[in-house]
């Protein structure tokens, strides 16, 4: 790490807000040296509770996050918030509008709000978000809240970087078939029916309850949320959280026979008035205790790191491929060749990848030879 980055790291660890802000910028920009910087952060992390909040646009996420942060502050805890908004697929531009709703904590530097946009990268946002969480954790934030618009797989990946995921479901958000569909609802550790003072709130609560009930009956991973909790089911024969069962595929074969399986509670809130926020916080804390007590937390953290490693590798390979494409004359020409019927994408993928694969196996052979020679 160069001297500037060392200074930045030192300043961050000393609690300078600007250093935290700068570090997150470096992470977002993939600025030179950012990887070493993030590497160094890891040693200082692990103390924050990370909470993911998602839900459809207009569900009231930002307002609830604001009240959440306010309440944590009243309890003497510091808060970091990462608010994610989509960016334009055409220009890359974005209006990051969540900050505007976080008025209760304005002027309080111990609530650090950072807006992030997707910047149109595949999987890149979840890496950047996870790294930004690391920065806030190392800085010393007690609670870190990640807020995303629940609109796609990307959000699912992002909120999975949290220990506890809350999904906001506004009243009247569809019939019970909606709740059967796969996706965002499955990742909830806590359901929040926000705007609970509106018509249809009771019915939405009822539909969620039914969904959870069906989930429990057919025995799929603790009523609809899988991931680490399901993994606890899969590895449930052992209470030792350092066992090797982590190799078990997290999303299969999970059963909910575990007596201490987590059933996501349904909390009703009116974020604009602060109603239900204390209950919500209690449930978040309850889930955290469940994770720790059941030994699931270690599993979850391990799974998260596995995902981080995969994403990082995927990104690197992606970059390699992009430069490979560049050296092959750019993707446009290849695409044109497909359009005019000269070739097809599969043939091109083969052509581009074969030299890469050859290089890899050559390198492998060389490594083996080097090892043999050294013996």
């Amino acid at each position: 790490m160069n001297a500037d980055d060392q200074d930045l790291l030192d300043a961050l660890l000393e609690g300078h807000h600007r250093a935290l802000a700068r570090t997150i910028s470096k992470i977002e920009n993939r600025a030179p040296g950012y990887r070493n910087l993030v590497s160094e952060l890891y040693a200082h992390t692990g103390n924050a509770d990370v909470i993911g909040i998602t839900g459809s646009p207009g569900a009231g996420k930002s307002t609830l996050v604001d009240k959440l942060a306010e309440t944590y502050r009243e309890r003497g805890e510091t808060v970091g918030i990462i608010a994610i908004d989509p960016s334009s697929p055409f220009t890359g531009g974005a209006v990051l509008g969540d900050r505007i709703r976080m008025a209760s904590t304005i002027g309080d530097m111990d609530v650090f709000v950072r807006s992030m946009s997707a910047r149109g990268t595949l999987g890149g946002l979840s890496t950047a978000t996870a790294d930004a969480v690391k920065a806030m954790d190392a800085f010393g934030k007690d609670k870190i809240i990640i807020e995303t618009v629940g609109a796609g797989q990307n959000e699912v990946d992002i909120v999975r970087t949290a220990d506890t995921v809350a999904v906001l479901v506004p009243p009247g958000s569809g019939d019970s078939v909606q709740t059967l569909k796969a996706g965002i609802l499955e990742i909830a550790d806590v359901f929040v029916v926000n705007k609970a003072d509106r018509d249809g709130a009771d019915r939405t609560v009822q539909e969620l309850r039914e969904m959870l009930h069906i989930g429990a009956d057919v025995g799929f991973g603790g009523s609809g949320h899988h991931g680490a909790d399901a993994m606890a089911g899969a590895g449930g024969t052992s209470t030792d959280d350092t066992d090797t069962d982590a190799d078990t595929d997290a999303d299969t074969d999970a059963d909910s026979d575990e007596p201490d399986d987590w059933t996501p509670p349904i909390v009703e809130t009116v974020a604009t008035k602060g109603t239900g926020v204390d209950t919500f916080i209690d449930e978040l804390a309850a889930h955290k205790s469940f994770l720790v007590d059941s030994g699931t937390h270690a599993e979850k953290v391990r799974q998260r790191y596995a995902e981080e490693i995969r994403t990082l590798l995927r990104e690197d390979v992606n970059a390699l491929l992009e430069s490979e494409l560049e050296s092959a004359g750019g993707v446009d020409e290849l695409a044109e060749a497909v359009r005019t019927g000269e070739t097809d994408p599969y043939a091109i993928a083969d052509d581009v990848l074969t030299p890469v694969a050859d290089c890899l196996s050559e390198a492998e052979i060389e490594a083996v030879q080097a090892e043999l020679n050294s013996q």
Binding site: A94, R99, T121
Partner: protein, 152 residues
Amino acid sequence: MSSEQDEESQSQPQSHGQGEGRSIRCLVAKVGLDGHDRGAHVISRAFRDAGFEVIYSGLHKAPDDIVQAAVQEDVDVLGISILSGAHDTLVPKIMDGLEEYGAREDTLVLVGGVIPEEDRPELKEEGVAAIFGPGTSIEETIEFVRENAPER
């Protein structure tokens, strides 16, 4: 905007606002009591369409609030929209706040709105890089940001 900063930003290739990596980040701020933010909305939208990342502060913010947002969001550009005539007192407070966090040097500060000619030199002395009065074209503003956003 100091002249050496000008030269520096022109001597380096511009990779701003497109694709992966670096993106110009702007805070569009409404400070003080005026309650009219159509202009701020228009600018925010135009900046978005230019490929910038825009954070809008919302109405009725105190200078401290703006400083907090600018520091936390680590923006390259701070655009302050003022119609109330209170720029003489509010803008210096913001500049002092940025100074306090060491963010004044490399934040491009712009002021938009109704600023009388006689007040302009003082604002420039405070460190405001440009003042865009009524009638300034959006393109001109975007161009200015593209050319002068600090390289970091």
